[in-house]
């Protein structure tokens, strides 16, 4: 790098600026916000729709629907609001690795060896 280039903005600011100018449009941000709100409203009423309220334990159908929606919402926040969709793949890999690590260790604790005794199933 020449002396002239070194007197310009520091590389960090340059790299940060180079990374910054991309992302979704305002309209998409707002649309995602509306979607998140609508899904949340549905989730609040889901127990009334998907169960008779008399179960002693939440039923698989309700759990599946609610968790699926939760992960879709979380995915939208991560992809668009946190810019994973537009940023370096390295950031996504960090999230994936962290998730894999913790899920693996929790699986070890729960299911390997003496594990955990799960009482009556669904």
């Amino acid at each position: 790098m020449s002396d002239q280039e070194q007197t310009q903005a520091p590389p960090q600011a340059h790299d940060e600026a180079h990374e910054e100018h991309h992302g979704a449009s305002r309209g998409l941000y707002l649309a995602i916000g509306v979607f998140l709100t609508v899904v949340t409203v549905f989730e609040v009423f889901a127990p009334r729709l998907l169960s008779n309220g008399l179960e002693l334990r939440p039923q698989p159908a309700l759990i599946s629907v609610l968790m699926a929606f939760a992960f879709v919402k979380a995915g939208l926040v991560a992809a668009f609001y946190m810019h994973l969709r537009y940023d370096s793949r390295s950031y996504t890999n960090i999230m994936i690795m962290a998730t894999v690590v913790i899920v693996y260790f929790l699986w070890l604790l729960t299911f390997v060896g003496s594990g955990v005794n799960f009482n009556a199933g669904f």
């Binding site: 949340t40 127990p47 390295s90 962290a98």
Partner: protein, 275 residues
């Protein structure tokens, strides 16, 4: 070629643009937060699934007991007495306070008589789903506001940046206020670490319900509090014109943290309150 400041990181021998070190550091931190909250949530799930079913001692409160009969629109008067063996009911007149300790507890033996008499049975709720749903909406709104703040500064809209950050700050404070209010109600009802409302205790429910509830929502609330404090600093700097279209990494990094807190709440709200 690395700059002398050493502020950026790049894989040697590659042509990929270097990753900003501050941003990489924040993402690594968020990775550790994923590990932290995943452990909490997973532990909660395991404890709940491994608890015995009612009416055994140490059972987890049923969905009806957690959300209340009003939330689930259960016509309790139509309950089959067989269900009563698992669900602990607390009778009250419609006009009376269902948390009134003098209201008598219905036992399975006299349940049928009460139903036959036409008394409407009310199962008091523990968790306030509508209020927490409002809180969830506020947090989603704050996430939208943060991303619009970032969008504003990228488009050289300083007023927009300050406006959206201020809105986020207000929403964050309101979220904390509502959660604090919710905690006061729950504590008054008897829900705390190793403690559950008396009507659940009498039914033999496990007090792990209280412990796990406060462990998860409390840690999340602490993260929101830290986020609000950081936001205050970012907001003051924004007002002073510290951030520009060329250099606004502070706004983006704060946004990453705030969105992550929202993301965790999305999962927590579903797991703790709705399921």
């Amino acid at each position: 070629m690395q700059a002398s400041t050493g502020e950026t990181l790049s894989a040697p021998g590659t042509a990929a643009p270097p990753l900003p070190s501050r941003k990489l550091a924040v993402w690594l931190f968020l990775g550790s937060e994923i590990v932290f909250f995943s452990a909490l949530i997973f532990t909660f799930i395991v404890l709940r699934l491994s608890a015995p079913l009612p009416p055994e001692e140490g059972a987890w409160p049923t969905p009806l007991e957690i959300q209340g009969s009003a939330a689930l629109e259960v016509d309790v008067a139509s309950l089959d007495p067989e269900y009563v063996k698992g669900i602990h009911l607390h009778t009250a007149d419609l006009a009376a306070d269902p948390h009134d300790e003098e209201a008598y507890i219905v036992t399975p033996e006299d349940f049928s008589d009460e139903v036959a008499a036409g008394t409407t049975l009310i199962v008091p709720r523990v968790l306030n789903i509508p209020l927490t749903a409002l809180n969830t909406f506020l947090l989603i709104l704050s996430s939208v506001a943060v991303v619009l703040a970032l969008d504003a500064v990228q488009k050289r809209n300083q007023k927009g940046l300050v406006r959206w950050l201020a809105i986020t700050f207000v929403l964050g404070v309101v979220f904390l206020g509502i959660q604090a209010y919710e905690y006061t109600i729950l504590i008054r009802e008897g829900l705390w670490f190793a403690s559950i409302p008396h009507w659940l205790e009498e039914a033999g429910r496990t007090d792990l319900f209280g412990t796990t509830f406060y462990a998860m929502t409390g840690f999340h609330g602490a993260h929101v509090l830290v986020g609000v404090i950081m936001l205050g600093i970012v907001l003051v700097k924004a007002i002073k014109g510290y951030y520009t279209a060329e250099d606004h990494m502070g706004v983006e990094l704060f946004g990453l943290y705030w969105h992550f807190v929202d993301l965790v709440w999305i999962i927590l709200f579903t797991v703790v309150y709705l399921i």
